[in-house]
Amino acid sequence: MAEHYLRAWLLTDTPTSRRHAKMSALYQGWLSFRSNTMAMIGLIILLLLVLIAAAAPLISPHDPFVQDLGNRLAPLGTPGHIFGTDSLGRDILSRLIYGARITLYIVALVALIAPVVGLLVGTVSGYVGGWVDVVLMRITDIFLAFPRLVLALAFVAALGAGIENAVLAISLTAWPPYARIARAETLTIRSSDYISAIQLQGAGALRIITKHIWPLCISSLIVRVTLDMAGIILAAAGLGFLGLGAQPPSPEWGAMISEGRRFILDHWWVATMPGLAIFTVSLAFNLLGDGLRDVLDPKAGE
């Protein structure tokens, strides 16, 4: 009964307070997201990943760093080592579980830096126009002209190997597409009547960009970021694979593949298990992104 009442309260067309209106809008979005099965699968996988990363010390059967050279390269299904062990006898399952933390760390940091930079550059460039637009967009073009991994390689080489630098390098190469999207959106939003209307109230550029343009750009950026997450994980793994990201003995998934590469013909699982993990998480992000696009895309709404 209470549940029924709550549902009616959330689905009302006549909200009675600011909070009520917000909650109602969120709930409607959640309902349309929930009806998308694939997106829900993506969300569940990612929630599981977060849980696993948080509870890593509790659920991992072994210490991910302890070596057992007597039991190296144990195959799948070995008692005590369900995913086998790597070339130093470390339990692959435990390393994958701890690796989830690193993956999430990378994803979170990149997701915090790249879209924010892109949003700033894109909206300012699109709204202000003129020479500001020209300068900012040419800088964006320069970054876009390099293949992402090559540019990241150059950054890491200059900054030194390590996860933080890898994140920084990936962020620096990832923002230009966001700037482009944000600028394109801003150009259409800028000429709309509701922006003219707020200009006629004497609002300044800063207020218009942050309060009126950002809320409309952010949804398409969120969608784009989730869709790009797979690529970012792969780029981080790629840097790890090349030995420029996470350093041994850190259980970063890309670095694990890199280590397993030497045994790929005889002991395929050493490289395959982290590969499957990367694949699953990337897929989950893609599914989530597709679902979010259906919910958030302002053009699909109305």
Partner: protein, 246 residues
């Protein structure tokens, strides 16, 4: 006393070869408390005049005087406390992610009002919407309700001159009647001056005291509504427009 004086107003878009003259040498004035109509077909430059007054069309030359003050290229903040505008399409003039409360609250805040909550309630009452619409988002409102919100937003800074850009052309006739009545009431209550653009002669005939007929960026005739009702247009184009709208 004149609320608005327009002298030799030229407005253009683009530069050099692509330059398009949207308004050519427009001259008219609107007295304090008067309701003045601008009539013409699409592309005649009638809306462009409004956009030039508000500064939304930055390329203009000539003289625009509001309450005896000549406008410069940049509009000071105080200008928007005197002049406000209602847009044509209520579906496009409200921010899709802002609730009615946010729209009105922000407008009041920008004009430096205190007691915003009480004023939002009052504005909603003024335009006949009432409290229960306060926290709705635009997609939860009908076209007529949206236009009422847009009118409330324009009234928020307590302007003296209201520019109306085809305020009812996107609405059903029954809703149009409600909005036109509302505008007439508000004009009386708040002693407003209207400059109204419309392609519909009967709407202008109902709402305005005088009107200017525009064609291809030029004002071809200025007449009062009594003459319009007697169908006494002198310019052939104005005559033609009158015939077409009967």
């Amino acid at each position: 006393m004149n609320m608005l004086e327009i002298e030799n107003l030229d407005v253009w878009f683009g530069t050099a070869r692509n330059r398009v003259e949207a308004v050519k040498a427009a001259i008219f004035d609107v007295a304090q408390g008067e309701s003045f109509g601008l009539v013409g077909e699409s592309g005649s430059g009638k809306s462009t005049i409004l956009r030039a007054i508000t500064g939304l069309a930055p390329n203009w030359s000539g003289r625009i005087t509001v309450q005896q003050t000549a406008l410069t290229k940049k509009r000071p903040k105080a200008f928007f406390k005197t002049v406000q505008m209602v847009f044509q399409d209520p579906y496009a003039s409200l921010h899709p992610r802002h609730s009615v409360d946010q729209v009105l609250g922000e407008t009041l805040h920008l004009h430096g009002f205190k007691q915003i909550d009480a004023r939002v309630v009052k504005l909603l009452d003024d335009v006949g919407l009432g409290q229960k619409f306060r926290f709705r988002y635009p997609h939860q409102l009908s076209g007529g309700q949206r236009q009422r919100v847009a009118i409330a937003r324009a009234l928020a800074p307590e302007p003296a001159l209201l520019l109306l850009d085809e305020p009812t052309s996107a609405l059903d006739v029954s809703v149009q009647a409600e909005i036109l009545n509302l505008l007439a009431d508000l004009r009386q209550e708040h002693k407003l001056t209207y400059l109204m653009v419309s392609h519909d002669l009967s709407v202008v005939g109902h709402m305005c005291d005088r009107l200017a007929v525009m064609k291809d960026g030029e004002i071809v005739e200025i007449m009062d509504v009594a003459a319009l009702q007697r169908m006494e247009a002198t310019h052939p184009y104005a005559q033609h427009l009158l015939q077409a709208s009967i």
